[in-house]
């Protein structure tokens, strides 16, 4: 994710599913640097919920033993992109908890590259996306374990829920490992709301819209569990869900 002056094309891996027309006026996107010094802990909350296209690019560097907890609510009314490159020092701890809520013809995406540059760092990425209408939600995430970064623990948990047959989810968790003694897990699932659960709720008297809302709320909440601003994130996510249903 180096600074490319030229506008990306579909051939660029990281922009494969991007809304290039919406991206054009935003280009080039300036990288925002975040440095977490060794031993320190920082948190960050990004909420994209406006009506204009947004593209953010974060470059995060974690020193030895540093921790960084990033939560993202991507419910932008137009194209919304959060790209992130994180480089983890020895024993660093990185968390990404992100929810994307897309309706209409929105394109929302999260693109990450997490580099375990030194031993014993931990990264956890949880991404929960919901798409209805003709919308698409994308996650492209690469975990790169550098040579010598033994004891790495990297996790990517990526799930998407499609509310309509016309909605799309692209999920591509990737691993590139150049070290031994590494624990990397990735799970990726695209599905629909559980019909059995919906009928169970209906059988108790819960109308379909409320049942959907309850299930989606629970689904999205997984991305925000343990966040410093959990309440506020959930509230905003709920408002965005409400608008979608």
């Amino acid at each position: 994710m180096s600074q490319v002056a030229a506008l990306p094309t579909r051939r660029d891996e990281d922009f494969r599913y991007a809304d290039l027309a919406a991206l054009t006026p935003l280009w080039p996107v300036a990288a925002e640097q975040v440095r977490v010094p060794g031993g320190e802990a920082q948190t960050m909350t990004l909420i994209l919920a406006g009506g204009e296209a947004v593209a953010r690019e974060l470059v995060v560097t974690l020193g030895a033993g540093a921790s960084f907890d990033l939560r993202v609510l991507n419910a932008n009314g137009a194209y919304g992109r959060v790209a992130l490159r994180a480089e983890l020092g020895e024993g660093a701890n990185f968390t990404l908890g992100a929810a994307q809520l897309a309706a209409g013809e929105q394109v929302l995406e999260i693109v990450t590259q997490v580099v375990h540059a030194a031993p014993d760092a931990v990264s956890r990425q949880i991404v929960r996306s919901v798409a209805g209408g003709q919308a698409s939600v994308n996650y492209l995430g690469k975990v790169l374990v550098a040579k010598g970064a033994s004891g790495t623990d990297g996790e990517q948990s990526v799930r998407a829920m499609l509310l309509d047959r016309t909605a799309t989810a692209n999920a591509r968790p990737e691993l590139e490992i150049h070290a031994d003694d590494v624990k990397c897990a990735h799970g990726c699932a695209v599905g629909e709301l559980d019909a059995n659960g919906l009928f169970y709720m209906a059988a108790r008297g819960i109308p379909p819209e409320t049942a959907k809302r309850l299930m989606l709320q629970a689904f999205v909440a997984e991305a925000f569990a343990g966040a410093a601003e959990e309440e506020a994130l959930l509230e905003q996510a709920l408002a965005a869900l409400e608008a979608m249903l």
Partner: protein
């Protein structure tokens, strides 16, 4: 209270119910017994309005309304409770939240006022206590990590809180040990053996009927009721098997 006349239903285009008729009056307990695959759960799901269970003939009236014209959640608000043979897990939604939504949705639909958080908790505590279930268990996500028996007890706690007119209980006794069976039986009696209420027990075994005494026992085979009798019929079934009795 419930009048089923010549009900035909298909699942995935396969005819399962083939002319089933049954009348349940207020105050009555009916038991439906029958071999595996007879269509017992299909009857419950069809009455509950589960998508995919298509009614191809017959009528069902419930509390003076055309039951089949109602959406599933409207049937619940009208006073129908379906106890599931396999209760469904809903990750991330707590039982308390789920039940409060359920009860208040039903009350709204009936034009009643909603219960406050405090008032709801009191009802929940009372009904959980009746089924010897710790209220703390209801703070957990719906059925997630519950044992088979706990799920069945939780179904009865739900029934107690929702306080239906008619409860259709699909194999509520399966997965219960002897002690839990007694607790569940007593729970059903306390909640449902009330004036103006009725129960339809779907079961394989006689043992639940020792606790919840049925007024009528029906044998369901091949998608129809092939025999009806009193409580003795259940004992006869236990002794001689479905094949001999249904023949």
């Amino acid at each position: 209270m419930l009048q089923i006349t010549d009900l035909h239903a298909t699942v995935a285009d396969k005819p399962i119910l083939k002319g089933l008729s049954l009348t349940i009056n207020p105050g009555e307990v009916h038991a439906i017994m029958g071999p595996n695959g007879a269509g017992k759960s299909t009857l419950g799901y069809t009455l509950g309005g589960r998508p995919g269970y298509e009614v191809t003939g017959g009528t069902v009236t419930f509390a003076g309304q055309d039951l089949l014209a109602l959406e599933p959640h409207e049937r619940a608000a009208a006073g129908l409770f379906l106890g599931f043979q396999y209760p469904v897990e809903i990750p991330g939604v707590s039982f308390l939240q789920f039940l409060r939504e359920s009860l208040n949705a039903q009350r709204r639909a009936r034009g009643e006022t909603e219960l406050s958080g405090g008032a709801f908790l009191q009802v929940a505590k009372l009904r959980a206590g009746l089924l010897k279930m710790d209220l703390d268990m209801l703070k957990r996500p719906v059925n997630v990590g519950f044992s088979g028996g706990e799920k069945k007890r939780a179904e009865m706690v739900q029934m107690g809180i929702l306080d239906p007119k008619l409860a259709i209980l699909d194999e509520t006794d399966s997965g219960l040990d002897i002690d839990a069976l007694r607790v569940v039986g007593e729970g059903i009696n306390t909640v449902m053996r009330q004036p103006g209420k009725a129960v339809l027990l779907i079961t394989h075994y006689q043992r639940l009927l020792d606790y919840v005494k049925p007024d009528f026992v029906h044998v369901l085979a091949g998608g129809r009721i092939v025999r009806t009798g009193g409580p003795d019929l259940a004992l006869e079934l236990e002794e001689r098997g479905y094949e001999a009795v249904a023949a």
